[in-house]
């Protein structure tokens, strides 16, 4: 544990979440939208889940989105959030069992849950592979993990505007926007954590704001501002903030004078391993030729795949 690499200040994140309880309702459309999209994907999985957990529940967006699911899709839903105050808010919004838990130290016994959902929370976990292993172990065999988290292209405009403003005004730039996971890493992470049939895909939500300062105030209201350990500890100067807004609008501002902000959402799906799950066939094990099926001459593509 001593040599863990810490990127995010989890204590600060918790404080941000605690504080955001009061403001989130006015800034929650992105969380609500992502939760709806996540639950849509759940609806596509043709089985019911007797126990499910929303890991990183904020004020309960999954519970709200899940109201539209057919009865019996989810038997019992549990909710967990890093912030006890957020958990309390989630429980008062929907009277379902809720706890406070840290995604890095999950308090769930092995093979106890049928489904774990997570909406826009896992992007601030220091040890994502470690968290995914714990999630996989908490699932029953053939249990499902379905998560949405912010991906690498998220807030790319803001990242670039900060860099430009700080380099020109202060002669150096500090990290302002978190290093989110990339889509290309996501399926591999699931596989490393022992998930069967890992799937990762992404979509992009572009939100337009009156100006970049509105975006920053939205992030603050969501409890999503900088929690990087290597963040600058000095207060941001007014001039720098103005310069950020100017760079932002000069580079990315729309013809309508508004500021677009990109949020890339990664969707991760994986199954806890179980007997009888579909397995990928070994290369070269086919018993019929595609060329025969399509009634066309076979075109060699080079080396034949051999058994390994």
């Amino acid at each position: 544990m001593a040599d863990r690499i810490e990127v995010f200040d989890r204590r600060l994140l918790r404080q941000r979440r605690e504080r955001a309880v009061a403001t989130l309702a006015a800034h929650d459309f992105l969380f609500a939208e992502v939760a709806t999209r996540l639950v849509d994907r759940l609806a596509d999985i043709r089985r019911d889940f007797s126990t499910a957990l929303d890991l990183g529940c904020h004020t309960g967006f999954i519970a709200k989105a899940a109201e539209g699911l057919p009865a019996g899709k989810i038997g019992t839903l549990f909710q967990a959030d890093l912030s006890p105050r957020m958990a309390a808010a989630a429980r008062s919004n929907a009277d379902i069992p809720t706890l406070a838990a840290d995604e890095e130290y999950l308090p769930f016994r092995d093979a106890g849950l049928d489904l774990i959902l997570s909406c826009a929370s896992l992007h601030f976990v220091n040890d994502l592979p470690g968290a995914l292993i714990q999630i996989q172990r908490a699932l029953k065999p053939d249990g499902v993990f379905l998560a949405a988290l912010f991906g690498g292209a998220t807030l790319t405009e803001l990242r670039q505007a900060w860099l430009a403003a700080e380099t020109s005004l202060e002669g150096g730039a500090g990290p302002r926007v978190a290093p989110f996971a990339d889509l290309s890493d996501a399926a591999g992470l699931l596989q490393r954590a022992g998930f069967a049939m890992p799937v990762a895909d992404s979509d992009t939500i572009t939100v337009t704001y009156d100006n970049p300062l509105k975006l920053m105030s939205d992030l603050r209201g969501m409890g999503e501002t900088n929690v990087l350990i290597e963040r600058r500890r000095t207060p941001t100067r007014r001039a720098t903030l103005t310069a950020v807004a100017e760079h932002y609008m000069a580079q990315f501002g729309g013809d309508d004078g508004r500021a677009p902000a990109t949020f890339q959402i990664l969707y991760l799906t994986g199954w806890a391993p179980a007997e009888g799950q579909p397995q990928a066939l070994k290369p070269g094990s086919a018993t019929s030729r595609l060329a025969d099926i399509f009634d066309t001459p076979e075109q060699s593509a080079g080396e034949k795949a051999g058994p390994r």
């Binding site: 204590r11 126990t51 019992t76 549990f78 890093l82 006890p84 958990a87 309390a88 429980r91 009277d95 069992p97 809720t98 706890l99 406070a100 838990a101 840290d102 130290y105 999950l106 308090p107 769930f108 016994r109 092995d110 106890g112 849950l113 908490a138």
Partner: protein, 72 residues
């Protein structure tokens, strides 16, 4: 069900919880509203029916708080 105490912790939730530090079993102390991990020497508080499974919110057990039965 309508009169169920909102502050009570859900029994189904208790069934799946373990100590986040040791992944060992927890003992539910209903009077004190705590979940006790003997192995970690920690008591996790339950506030208004919400188990707070965070190590830095847990109370360290006193040496005299030994388990009545040897377990964990």
């Amino acid at each position: 069900m309508a009169t169920q105490n909102r502050a009570a912790v859900d029994p189904k939730l208790l069934e799946i919880l373990v100590c986040p530090l040791t992944k060992g079993p927890l003992r539910y102390d209903e009077a004190k509203q705590e979940l006790i991990s003997q192995k970690a020497g920690l008591a996790y508080p339950i506030r208004d029916g919400i188990p707070i499974m965070l190590v830095d919110e847990a109370r360290e057990l006193n040496p005299d708080e030994t388990p009545s039965t040897a377990s964990g």
